[in-house]
């Protein structure tokens, strides 16, 4: 019969015994606390190293109350939000940063509008910090989380609420630069076909667009902004009206790739050429942006940076240290076929 040796996990007391000290001393050593002699400390660390000893996070959690865990909340309702393909990259970067810092990340699903389960789990699991990658700035969950003292950071939304940090892309500058691109390539009749007004990113994009238009002065003949849902069909319908008009724009800056796709559909069905008759830009660099006809000039979000920054912000908040609580990260314009080449 095969002798199955129960490899008993070593406990802190085993290490203590090997080192000829008490468990408390080992604990202090591992946590870098004072009260341990120099050579004793070295001997203990040596033994820990040799035996590959690792603290049991559960036991530690029970006595300290800290879990070395971050949570990220997935809203299951609003599936159109979650299905947005930015999430895998975002979460990957977040997880990577967390791992490096010795944290694990808990994936919470927020079903329906119920924040209760999330708050509940955060307290029960003693989660150290929470990332909300898909919550609006007015989401009641935020209040509840700060209410229980959980460090919280929003992604993609900005807020002035006390005690909550956020990291967002620079929508403002991105929209500004796209508009500038239109002007630089000779487009003087502009339309911003933006997403819904209640989406904060859209407000910022609006601001960037108008800032550029104002600064351009006579270089722009006409400019206006229209709101549509983030829906290709709705965008097509609206674009048919806009582009069917004799005073049609020669450049359309869109609030998302899905809207831009709708505009290009409309242009095609009206017999207009893109970008010759009308230039089009999107937002997000969705996968289909490289596959439209023509390919779509758009804006790519710095997802890796966002994830990493969110994690670091949380660590700072947890340790109470000073650190920026509001971060805006630069975006990248992806030049493709839906805009004319810039004249250099």
């Amino acid at each position: 019969m095969i002798n199955v040796k129960k490899e008993g996990k070593l406990t802190i007391r085993d290490i203590a015994a090997l080192a000829g000290v008490s468990a408390g001393t080992v604990s202090r050593t591992m946590n870098g606390q004072a009260g341990v002699g120099q050579e004793t400390r070295q001997r203990i660390q040596q033994i820990i190293e040799e035996h590959r000893f690792q603290v049991d996070p559960t036991a530690r959690m029970l006595s300290t109350g800290r879990s070395q865990t971050l949570a990220v909340v997935f809203p299951l309702h609003a599936s159109e939000v979650v299905m947005h393909p930015i999430y895998p990259a975002l979460i990957g970067a977040l997880g990577d940063a967390a791992e490096r810092a010795g944290y694990d990340i808990l994936l919470l699903t927020q079903s329906a509008e119920k924040a209760a389960h999330v708050v509940d789990t955060v307290t029960r699991r003693r989660v150290d910090g929470v990332v909300l990658p898909a919550a609006g700035p007015r989401d009641p969950l935020i209040k509840q989380l700060t209410g229980i003292g959980a460090p919280t950071v929003l992604i993609g939304h900005r807020t002035n609420r006390e005690g909550v940090g956020w990291v967002d892309s620079d929508h403002d500058s991105a929209a500004h630069d796209l508009t500038r691109l239109m002007l630089d390539t000779g487009r003087r009749e502009l339309v911003l076909l933006n997403g819904p007004a209640h989406v904060s990113a859209c407000k910022l994009r609006s601001a960037g667009f108008w800032k550029c238009v104002q600064a351009a002065g006579d270089a722009v003949t006409s400019a206006r902004e229209i709101r549509v849902p983030f829906d290709t069909d709705a965008a097509t319908a609206e674009a048919l009206k806009i582009l069917g008009d004799p005073s049609r724009p020669t450049g359309v800056v869109c609030g998302s790739d899905t809207i831009a796709a709708g505009v290009m559909d409309a242009a095609h069905s009206l017999g207009l050429r893109v970008p010759d008759d009308v230039a089009v830009t999107g937002f997000d660099d969705r996968s289909f942006a490289a596959r439209t006809t023509p390919t779509l000039t758009t804006v790519r979000m710095p997802l890796d940076d966002i994830g990493r920054t969110a994690a670091q912000m949380l660590f700072a908040m947890i340790s109470g240290g000073p650190a920026p609580r509001k971060v805006i990260l630069p975006t990248e314009i992806i030049l493709r076929g839906s805009t004319p080449a810039r004249e250099d």
Copy 2:
């Protein structure tokens, strides 16, 4: 209302005191164990209900060794795998199912090829079960996880390895049905432009394709299979050769939407009409599939079902109960413009 001593969390001993019993009895009551009188049990449950008492999972974990936690592993290398947009939906369904069963899910990122950190975290955190949504059937991580006795299920890959379950889509039938669709709409010269041979899904799709061709007998004039990477440009190059030949196929079944996109590009540049001159189908129903010209007929995976099934399979494995360990779920064909309408 009864005055609770320390404002804050009640412990099991507080409940015991209120009920006039010992902590052990409360514990037995909560876990449905025998050894508690009928009326005592009711009284205790009543009090638990009243005070909204909830067990501390950390403490329970420490003494039982079980964590009520599932882990899902994200490989960070092979970003093209993780970036595949099926993940958000998959993970959403998984999380939802886990939540309903009172489990939480831990998100592990597997950096580089290092399985060590994953195994490490699984043991340290006492994870009850692991989902591998992006691991090949030969991934060494599988061996290591089963080695430490962690219930493991694969998603999207099949294996005969002892002690590991899997759930996959019915690629075989899907490919068969697409091929059947080609034949039913009068396409007799077929090509399967499949993905790499080492991808198990591609093997299954190959099998389905050939099964249909064999069964069709004289209904098919020619049929062949070609392998390309999951890359639109590579697919375009290959498709230019295939479609440029005088004996070009009238139907091309593709191993992915990205490949199909490449084929349609090639067709357009050769002046061939889709689907009139050549019908094309994809796989996955990526977001851009609804936005190609023409829109792409493709196959949608049952992501919700897959997630839910994986969770349930893990629960069964954890409790040691009997349950199917190998599940194949049916897919759905999304009919769009790249194939002719079926003659009914």
